[in-house]
C-alpha cells in the first residue's frame, strides 16, 4: 500500500502552498473513470449487493453532480492551492463518496472491494491521510462546516478564488458547533463557502422547512432544491453569491 506517501506529501505541501502560490492551469475535471450509470456497479463492489442502486444513498446525486459538473478538482490538480475543495462533513455512509472518487479516477476501483478491512485505506469514515482526493477526515459530526469556515477564510486571505463546498446531513445540524460556524460565516460574508444540506428528514425532532430560514437569518443566501434533480443541483451548486456564503438544501426521500 502506498498510502503513507500520499499522507506525507499532503502534509509537507502545507507550508509551500501558502508561500509559493503557483499559478495552476485550471483543468476542469478529470476525464478518467466511468459515468453516473457506473456508480451502482461501483457501490455493489462495496456492498456485495447487486441490487444496491444509486437511489438507496441520499448523498449520491449531490456528490456526482459536484464532481462531474461543479467542482474544479481532479486527480490532476488535487494538490494545487487553488483547487476547489469538497468537505464531506457527514462522514457516515461514505460508499457513494468512494464510488464517485473511484469513478473520477482519484484511486483505483480495486480499492473498493475490501473496504473497511484492516489493510484498506477506505473505512466507514474517510481519512484524508489515506485516501487521495479526500480533503478532510470526518466521522464525528459537526466538524466539517467549522473547518470549512477556516478554509474559506484562508482562501480569502491568500487571494485564492477557489471555493469550499461542504456536505452536511440535516440531522448533523443538531450539533451546536454548526450554529457557531453558520453565524460567523454569515457575519464575515464568506462567499467562498457553500454548504449543501442533504435533507432526508432524519433528525429526531424534525420540523419541515426550518433549515433554509435558519441560514438566511444569519445572512446566507439559501435555495431549496430536489436532491435527485441533476439540473437543479448543478444550477444551484454552481451559483456564487458575492459577499455572502450560500446554502443549498437538497431534499431527498425521508429516511
Amino acid at each position: 500500500m502506498t498510502t503513507g506517501t500520499i499522507g506525507a506529501d499532503t502534509f509537507d505541501a502545507r507550508r509551500g502552498s501558502a508561500r509559493t502560490r503557483r499559478g495552476s492551469t485550471r483543468t476542469r475535471r478529470g476525464s478518467a473513470g466511468g459515468g453516473y450509470e457506473d456508480l451502482g456497479r461501483l457501490m455493489s463492489l462495496m456492498s456485495g449487493d447487486e441490487k444496491h442502486g444509486p437511489a438507496a444513498t441520499s448523498t449520491l446525486d449531490v456528490l456526482w453532480v459536484l464532481y462531474d459538473r461543479v467542482l474544479d478538482v481532479s486527480p490532476q490538480n488535487m494538490t494545487e492551492p487553488d483547487r476547489d475543495r469538497f468537505y464531506l462533513s457527514k462522514g457516515h455512509g461514505p460508499m457513494a463518496y468512494y464510488a464517485v472518487l473511484a469513478a473520477k479516477g482519484f484511486f483505483p476501483e480495486s480499492w473498493l472491494t475490501d473496504w473497511a478491512s484492516f489493510d484498506s485505506p477506505l473505512g466507514h469514515h474517510p481519512d484524508r491521510v489515506l485516501v487521495p482526493g479526500v480533503e478532510i477526515s470526518s466521522g464525528s459530526l459537526g466538524h466539517g462546516l467549522p473547518l470549512a469556515v477556516g478554509t474559506a477564510i484562508g482562501l480569502r486571505a491568500q487571494g485564492l478564488h477557489a471555493r469550499v463546498v461542504v456536505l452536511v446531513g440535516d440531522a448533523e445540524l443538531d450539533e451546536g458547533s454548526n450554529a457557531e460556524a453558520i453565524q460567523l460565516a454569515g457575519a464575515l460574508g464568506l462567499d467562498r463557502l457553500t454548504v449543501v444540506v442533504v435533507d432526508n428528514a432524519s433528525t429526531s425532532y424534525h420540523r419541515p422547512g426550518v433549515i433554509a430560514p435558519r441560514f438566511e437569518h444569519e445572512g446566507w443566501d439559501a435555495l431549496v432544491v430536489d436532491g435527485r434533480d441533476h439540473e437543479a443541483l448543478e444550477w444551484s451548486l454552481s451559483r456564487r453569491t458575492p459577499g455572502r456564503p450560500n446554502v443549498v438544501v437538497a431534499e431527498v426521500e425521508s429516511k
Binding site: 502534509f11 508561500r19 477526515s137 466538524h143 473547518l147 477564510i153 484562508g154 460567523l184 457575519a187
Partner: protein
C-alpha cells in the same frame, strides 16, 4: 519585567507583519491587544466571537489551506472545552498549528474553577507529536512563539503571569542544568524554577529546568542523576510528566515525587500566590515536600 501575555500579543503581531502565511484566530479574549494587528491584516486576524469550538476548527481549516494559524484564548476554553476539535481538527487531519493558552492553573484565581485549567498539558499529552512549551519568562514566551510559528507541526504554548527572574534559551527536547549537586534531581518546569531554587537552598540536589516538556529531555535527566531520586515540580496537574520520567528511567530502580496542582477543587478565590501555596507550590510548601521525601529515602 515584561508581562508574558502582552509579550505573546506583541510577538504575534510582529509575526503577522513578517510572514504572510501566519494567521491569528482568537475568541474575544485578549482582543484588547490585537487592535493594530487586526487593522493591518484584516484577512489574517480573525475574532470568532464567543465560539471556542469554532475557534479551534477555524485554525485547523486555515492550516488546510497551507497557512500557519496561531490560535488563542484562555487555556480552559482552548484545550478543555474544545478538546475534540484539537484531536480531530489538528491531529487527525494531520495539519500543523500553534495553540497559545493563557490563564494556566492559577492566573485567574479570583475567577474560580471555570477559568482554571490545570489539566491542559495532561489532555494535550493524550495526543501524539505535540510540542508543549511552558515558558517561565516573558522572553521565553517570545522565543517559543517564534520557534513554533517558524517550525512545522503542532505546538501548545502555555502563557501564564508567574515568571522567573532569569530567562533561558528555548531548545526543544533539552533541559538546562541550573544547579549541580550529588543527591536527588529536581526538575522545575516553567515558572516553578524560582520557588524551587528557594526551596532547595542548602540541599545537595541537582536542579534541571524545562521550558519545553514535550518532547521531554530523557537523556538530559539520565545524564545528571546522582541518587536515583527525582522530584518533578510542574505548574499544572501533579503527575502530568510522571509517565515520561518512568519511561526515561525504566531500567533503573528509582523514587519519584511528582508535585503540581492537586486534583481536589479548592473552591477558593483570592490571589494566585494563595492558590500556589494551597497546592504546596510556594517555596515553603516545596521545601517541606522535598525534605520529607528525601528524609524517607535516607531512612529506607
Amino acid at each position: 519585567m515584561r508581562d508574558p501575555r502582552e509579550t505573546f500579543a506583541r510577538t504575534a503581531t510582529e509575526l503577522l507583519d513578517e510572514d504572510l502565511s501566519t494567521a491569528l484566530v482568537y475568541a474575544e479574549i485578549s482582543g484588547q491587544y490585537f487592535g493594530d494587528a487586526a487593522r493591518r491584516h484584516p484577512d489574517r486576524v480573525v475574532n470568532v466571537g464567543i465560539r471556542e469550538q469554532l475557534l479551534l476548527s477555524v485554525g485547523a481549516g486555515l492550516a488546510l489551506t497551507g497557512m500557519r494559524p496561531i490560535v488563542h484564548t484562555f487555556s480552559s476554553f482552548l484545550v478543555e472545552r474544545s478538546f475534540e476539535q484539537i484531536k480531530l481538527g489538528f491531529s487527525h487531519q494531520h495539519v500543523g498549528g500553534v495553540l497559545v493558552g493563557s490563564g494556566g492553573s492559577v492566573d485567574i484565581s479570583s475567577g474560580g474553577r471555570t477559568h482554571q485549567s490545570p489539566g491542559d498539558v495532561a489532555l494535550i499529552d493524550t495526543l501524539p507529536d505535540w510540542t508543549v512549551h511552558v515558558p517561565g519568562h516573558a522572553d521565553e514566551v517570545a522565543e517559543s512563539l517564534r520557534q513554533a510559528v517558524a517550525g512545522e507541526g503542532r505546538h501548545y504554548v502555555r502563557v501564564v503571569g508567574q515568571q522567573n527572574t532569569t530567562a533561558f534559551a528555548v531548545r526543544p527536547g533539552r533541559m538546562h542544568v541550573v544547579r549541580r549537586g550529588s543527591g536527588a534531581t529536581v526538575v522545575a518546569v516553567g515558572p516553578m524554577l524560582d520557588p524551587v531554587l528557594d526551596a532547595v537552598e542548602g540541599l545537595d540536589v541537582t536542579v534541571l529546568y524545562a521550558n519545553i516538556v514535550r518532547p521531554f529531555d530523557m537523556t538530559g535527566l539520565r545524564a545528571v542523576l546522582g541518587t536515583n531520586e527525582i522530584v518533578l515540580v510542574e505548574p499544572y496537574l501533579a503527575g502530568t510528566s510522571s509517565r515520561v520520567v518512568a519511561e526515561a528511567l525504566r531500567d533503573l530502580p528509582h523514587r519519584l515525587l511528582a508535585l503540581g496542582i492537586g486534583r481536589t477543587e479548592l473552591r477558593r478565590y483570592g490571589e494566585p500566590q494563595e492558590h500556589l501555596a494551597a497546592h504546596g507550590l510556594d517555596a515553603a510548601g516545596l521545601r517541606a515536600s522535598i525534605t520529607r521525601f528525601l528524609a524517607a529515602a535516607a531512612a529506607a
